[in-house]
């Protein structure tokens, strides 16, 4: 937004102060993670300016679990889920937004059911299904319940509904098929939604924990978060130095991606806004 509505100087200061206060509060866990990960364990609860720096926590954490493999697994998992969600979600959203087929409203309600009942709640029954399919302890087993996302379908349907029907009809008059219209008219115009949704989906599944934990047994299929809980409180008590180092390693790709691409995200939103 280029033009800012006029406001008084004290008001502006107050707002900036509030924004910064919240900002500091919100970044506190990350700041603590950075502090503790780079200092020896005795400084994990003490904050002295000249505490010695170290990378030892990272090397301890890296040695304590096969992180390289976990990174690969998480990367495959997240890519698989996102690709499936986008394709399946786009098709379904298009159907709901622009086709008045029999049973549409009931079908839509049935899709929304998953918005309330995330697969996280249905782990026992889903585990049973996976073992019937012989998929237990594989990356597809983690991904399958999430591939059709009510969240994605809902979001895309909303976006598709805001697209003027005239564009759709114009393309059809020129002889485009339904799928061509979808590909040429709807998908490009919904780009901001895809980006926003992709962001949400990737961060959700990068950090998802309960279902992967239950459905996997071995290093070859476990994602980062399950590897991370190695360091959570056990017999030995909490070791914050190693937990924070492992946390930073796990979150690094997402953090870096955000720092690098935040302008592109924002710009793509802007372009969508000016449309």
């Amino acid at each position: 937004m280029s033009i800012v509505v006029e406001r008084s100087i004290p008001g502006r200061l107050l707002e900036a102060g509030g924004a910064w206060l919240l900002g500091l509060l919100w970044i506190l866990p990350l700041a603590y993670a950075v502090w503790t990960a780079f200092h020896p364990p005795e400084f994990s609860t003490r904050f002295e300016l000249f505490a010695p720096l170290t990378l030892q926590n990272f090397s301890n954490a890296w040695q304590a679990a096969p992180f390289a493999r976990y990174f690969l697994n998480t990367f495959l998992l997240v890519s698989l889920i996102l690709a499936a969600q986008l394709v399946i979600g786009t098709l379904a959203a298009y159907a709901f937004a622009r086709f008045e087929f029999i049973g549409r409203d009931i079908a839509f309600m049935l899709v929304l059911v998953q918005l309330m009942i995330m697969p996280d709640v249905l782990i026992v029954e889903n585990y049973r299904t996976m073992s019937v399919f012989g998929l237990v302890d594989s990356i597809p087993a983690i991904a399958l319940p999430y591939m059709a996302s009510a969240f994605g379908i809902f979001l895309l349907r909303q976006t598709f509904k805001t697209i003027p029907r005239e564009l759709d009809e114009a393309a059809r008059v020129e002889g485009a098929t339904a799928l061509q219209v979808l590909w040429m008219v709807y998908v490009p115009l919904a780009k901001p939604t895809y980006i926003a949704y992709g962001l949400v989906s990737v961060s959700y599944h990068w950090n998802n924990f309960l279902w992967p934990l239950i459905v996997t047994n071995s290093v070859t299929s476990r994602p980062l978060t399950v590897g991370l809980q190695v360091f959570s409180s056990g017999d030995q008590g909490v070791d914050w130095s190693i937990i924070t180092a492992a946390t930073l390693m796990t979150a690094a790709p997402l953090l870096i991606a955000f720092l690098l691409f935040q302008r592109q995200f924002v710009q793509s939103f802007m372009r969508a806004g000016i449309r």
């Binding site: 609860t45 679990a65 934990l213 476990r222 590897g227 017999d235 008590g237």
Partner: protein, 426 residues
Amino acid sequence: MLNPIKKALVAIALIAAGIAQAQTTEISFYYPVAVGGPITKFIDGFVADFQKENPGIKVNSIYSGTYQESLVKALTAHKSGTPPVTSVLLSTDMYTLIDDDAIVPFDGLASSAEDQAWLNSFYPAFMANSRTGGKTWGIPFQRSTIVLYWNKELFKEAGLDPNRPPANWKEMAEYAQKLTKRDANNTTQWGVQIPSTGFPYWLFQGLTTPNGVELMNAAGTETYFDNPAVIEALKYWVDLSRAQKVHPPGVVEWGTTPKDFFEKKVAMIVTTTGNLSNIKANAKFDFGVAMLPASKRRGSPTGGGNFYLFKKSTPQQQQAAFKFIKWITSPERAAQWGIDTGYVAVRPDAWNTPVMKKYIEGFPPAAVARDQLQYAVAELSTHENQRVTKALNDGLQAALTGAKTPEQAMKDAQAEAARILRPYKR
């Protein structure tokens, strides 16, 4: 709709697999540790050695996370899928596993006199959680007990003999009073701390056992939470915290207790022997390890994990697993395992091996757990174990947070436990 070539290939693969199976027996083995921790290296080493000595057996170790996750995994797999052939799970899960018909006793496999002798070679305190109804369902392996750790520096500061831990409850309360430091509106250092999250019932047994009372019968069908001696033990704990104010108020986190000790926020902590190597590595001061203070007697519960054999496996696999378990619990290996991990070596002869003797000479605190074993009792374990222990945990936390009096809390817990166990009392 496979084409003929594919069909042929599948057939060949199946036959090949069949032949391979005839030659080697494959056993899956769940181990309750997170993948990649230092303990996995020791287990991997043991497995490799065992396979070298027994070429006909292949052991697939699966590191299945915490005890709780491992039990979830093993039982879910038992209900719908392929359970492991053997697994190390909590000794207190014995009744749960029996009630679910998931495991077989070892007695059927231990047919020879030698095997029978092996079954009797473990500390009786550990076997108390491994036997019921005259059968042996578990073999002790990764076991622990509760001890008291104290900070010698803080003892000196408080004018106490740094080499003399409290021997009984009265001394513990007196010491704790001297070790508690207060400023204008805060306590800066607590005398003693007994954690109460996670499994408060277990640490509570560190008070009830010295007070001369057990929490359940051997059949696991009855509890005695409202026994006056149990209430007295809880009163002692609550008083340390709420009346004498030498123990942190409210519910104390298990996970941060070692850190509290390192930070000198507390002078004495009561926790598992499994923490010994952690404390040895991270305490920047001289510390001591002692048996739990006595009330009417010495005493502590045991804790930790046993080997179990799962029912849904072939007799051949069970034999192979049995062989593996016997192998890994031999005196030398039990000793090595205890030294490497800090768990308590599970049989008396392990403590007489040269390697263990040498270790204790260099680090005497390691022997405290052994010396305490003669006074140890079984960890609270009943049918519907988790539910019954939760009833007790809720009562303990209610008393420690002041929501209920110790009497009321234990009466309620007992009533709830009795209700849960009613179907099991014949």
